[in-house]
C-alpha cells in the first residue's frame, strides 16, 4: 500500500458499489467512474461524489469524516476499513469494489443494521459498576485515584469507536449469531481491568457460557481490521485467562493477589492562605 509514492495515480477511479434496496430480490454491483479531485481523496469522498453527481439514491452512513464516529465501516476490495480513513491512493490499480460489512443485515446499499451488535454490547454492562461505591458513582464528589500504569492497563481498549468491523471480520461470528463477538468481549476486559470497577464477577458470568468467550479461537482478524489499534484479540485472550482463574476458583484462594480498588481522592483542603481573614457570616439563609 505504501508503494504509491512515485507512481502517478489514475485520474479516474472505477468504483463498484454494492447496491441493495428493501424489496429487491438480489443485490447487484453498480459501476461508477469517479474523477480524482485531490491527491488525498478518500473512499468516502468518492462515494459522496457518486451520491452528489451520479446516483442520488446511494445510501451510505457517515458522520465525522475523520475516523472518530465509527459510522462508515465497510469492505473495500475485501478488507474491512473505515471509508473516511482509506485513501483512493492506496489502490493504485484504479479499481475499487465497495461492499457493506458482512455478517450484518443490510438495510440499504452500504448501510448495515447494527442492532445485534449493540445488543451484545449492552449485555456485558459496558459501564463502571461498583456496589460498594454506589453513592459516590451516582453523585460524584471526588475523583478515584489511578496510577498511570493502572490507566495503561485498559486505556488501549477504551479507544473503541464501535464501528463493528471486528465483528464482521470474526470467523466465529460468521456462522454463530449468538456469539458475543470481539467488541463485547473486548469491552469486558476494558471494564474488568479498570480499578474503579467492581462488577467483574457479573461480566465473567456473562462470558463464561456457550457462545461466550470460549468460542473465540484466536483468529486475530478483529485486531487486523481494527481501524483504531484497539487489539481486541489481546483483550479477549486476557479475558480467557481471567475467566479460567475465576472458574477454577483460584482467585478465592488466600494467597492469590487481590484485585486493586482505586481509592477515593482525599477531601479537598480549604484553600485559604494564612493571614487572610475569614469571610463575614452569611446574612441571607442558605437555600
Amino acid at each position: 500500500m505504501a508503494s504509491t509514492k512515485q507512481k502517478a495515480l489514475p485520474e479516474t477511479y472505477t468504483v463498484e458499489v454494492f447496491r441493495f434496496a428493501p424489496g429487491e430480490k438480489k443485490p447487484r454491483y453498480d459501476r461508477f467512474e469517479v474523477p480524482v479531485q485531490h491527491p488525498g481523496m478518500t473512499v468516502l469522498e468518492a462515494l459522496l461524489y457518486i451520491k452528489e453527481n451520479l446516483d442520488p439514491t446511494l445510501a451510505v452512513r457517515y458522520s465525522c469524516r475523520m475516523a472518530v464516529c465509527g459510522s462508515c465501516g465497510m469492505y473495500v476490495n475485501g478488507k474491512g476499513v473505515l471509508a473516511c480513513h482509506t485513501r483512493l491512493a492506496e489502490f493504485p490499480s484504479g479499481k475499487i469494489r465497495v461492499s457493506p460489512m458482512p455478517n450484518y443485515p443490510v438495510v440499504k446499499d452500504l448501510m448495515t443494521d447494527m442492532s445485534e451488535f449493540f445488543t451484545h454490547h449492552r449485555e456485558v454492562k459496558p459501564y463502571i459498576i461498583n456496589p460498594e461505591m454506589r453513592a459516590e458513582i451516582e453523585r460524584p464528589t471526588r475523583e478515584f485515584l489511578q496510577t498511570p500504569e493502572e490507566v495503561e492497563e485498559y486505556l488501549q481498549f477504551s479507544y473503541c469507536i464501535k464501528c463493528g468491523l471486528c465483528v464482521s471480520a470474526c470467523p466465529t461470528v460468521a456462522s454463530d449469531p449468538d456469539f458475543l463477538g470481539p467488541q463485547a468481549l473486548m469491552t469486558v476486559t476494558r471494564y474488568n481491568r479498570d480499578t474503579r470497577d467492581g462488577g467483574w464477577t457479573y461480566r465473567l458470568e456473562v462470558v463464561d457460557r456457550p457462545h461466550g468467550v470460549w468460542n473465540c479461537h484466536f483468529a486475530g482478524a478483529c485486531t487486523e481490521v481494527c481501524p483504531k489499534g484497539v487489539d481486541p484479540a489481546l483483550a479477549i485472550q486476557f479475558l480467557k485467562r481471567e475467566a479460567v482463574v475465576h472458574g477454577l476458583g483460584l482467585d478465592r484462594l488466600p494467597f492469590w493477589p487481590k484485585r486493586k480498588q482505586a481509592p477515593l481522592a482525599p477531601p479537598p483542603k480549604p484553600a485559604r492562605r494564612k493571614g487572610i481573614p475569614a469571610p463575614p457570616p452569611r446574612t441571607v439563609p442558605e437555600s
Partner: protein
C-alpha cells in the same frame, strides 16, 4: 426487509482478505474435525487386537496396511496431526495470554501486538513441522 448477509460456515474461509491467522483458524478446525473422525475409526480398528492375532491381522488387511495408496493417506494424516499440534501450541500459549504483549497506547502505526508478536512462533513451529514432515516422508516412502 433488511437483507441478511451472514456468511455462515463459508465465512470461515471466504470472509474477505484477512490475516494468515484467520486461515490457520479454519485449517485448525478442518484438521481437528478430520482427526476426531479418524480417532473414532482408529479406536474401533485397534480394538480388534483384543480378539487375538488372527482378528488383528484381518483388521490390518481390511484397512490395507502396506498398500501404497493407504500409505499416502496416512502421510496426509501425519501432516494433519503435525499441523494441528504445532498450531495448537501457538494457540495454547496465546490463549493463556503468554507472549502476546501488553496493552499499550495505540499510536499510529498501530502495534497489533497480539498477532504481530506470535507471527515468529508460526514461522518457528511450522518450520519445525516441515522438518519433521520431510524426515517422516523419507521413512514413509523410501525406507519403510
Amino acid at each position: 426487509m433488511a437483507r441478511n448477509k451472514r456468511l455462515g460456515i463459508w465465512g470461515w474461509i471466504f470472509g474477505g482478505r484477512h490475516n494468515v491467522e484467520r486461515f490457520l483458524y479454519t485449517l485448525h478446525r478442518i484438521t481437528g474435525v478430520a482427526l476426531v473422525f479418524y480417532l473414532m475409526a482408529h479406536i474401533l480398528v485397534v480394538g480388534s487386537r483384543a480378539f487375538g492375532q488372527e482378528a488383528w491381522e484381518n483388521a490390518m488387511r481390511l484397512v490395507g496396511a502396506g498398500n501404497p495408496v493407504v500409505r499416502v493417506l496416512e502421510y496426509l494424516l501425519v501432516i494433519a496431526v503435525v499441523f494441528h499440534a504445532t498450531n495448537g501450541i501457538r494457540l495454547v500459549l496465546g490463549e493463556l495470554g503468554i507472549g502476546i504483549g501488553r496493552p499499550r497506547r495505540p499510536v499510529y502505526p498501530y502495534p497489533k501486538d497480539s498477532i504481530r508478536k506470535p507471527r515468529k512462533w508460526i514461522l518457528v513451529l511450522e518450520g519445525l513441522a516441515t522438518v519433521y514432515l520431510v524426515v517422516a516422508a523419507y521413512f514413509f516412502f523410501v525406507r519403510h
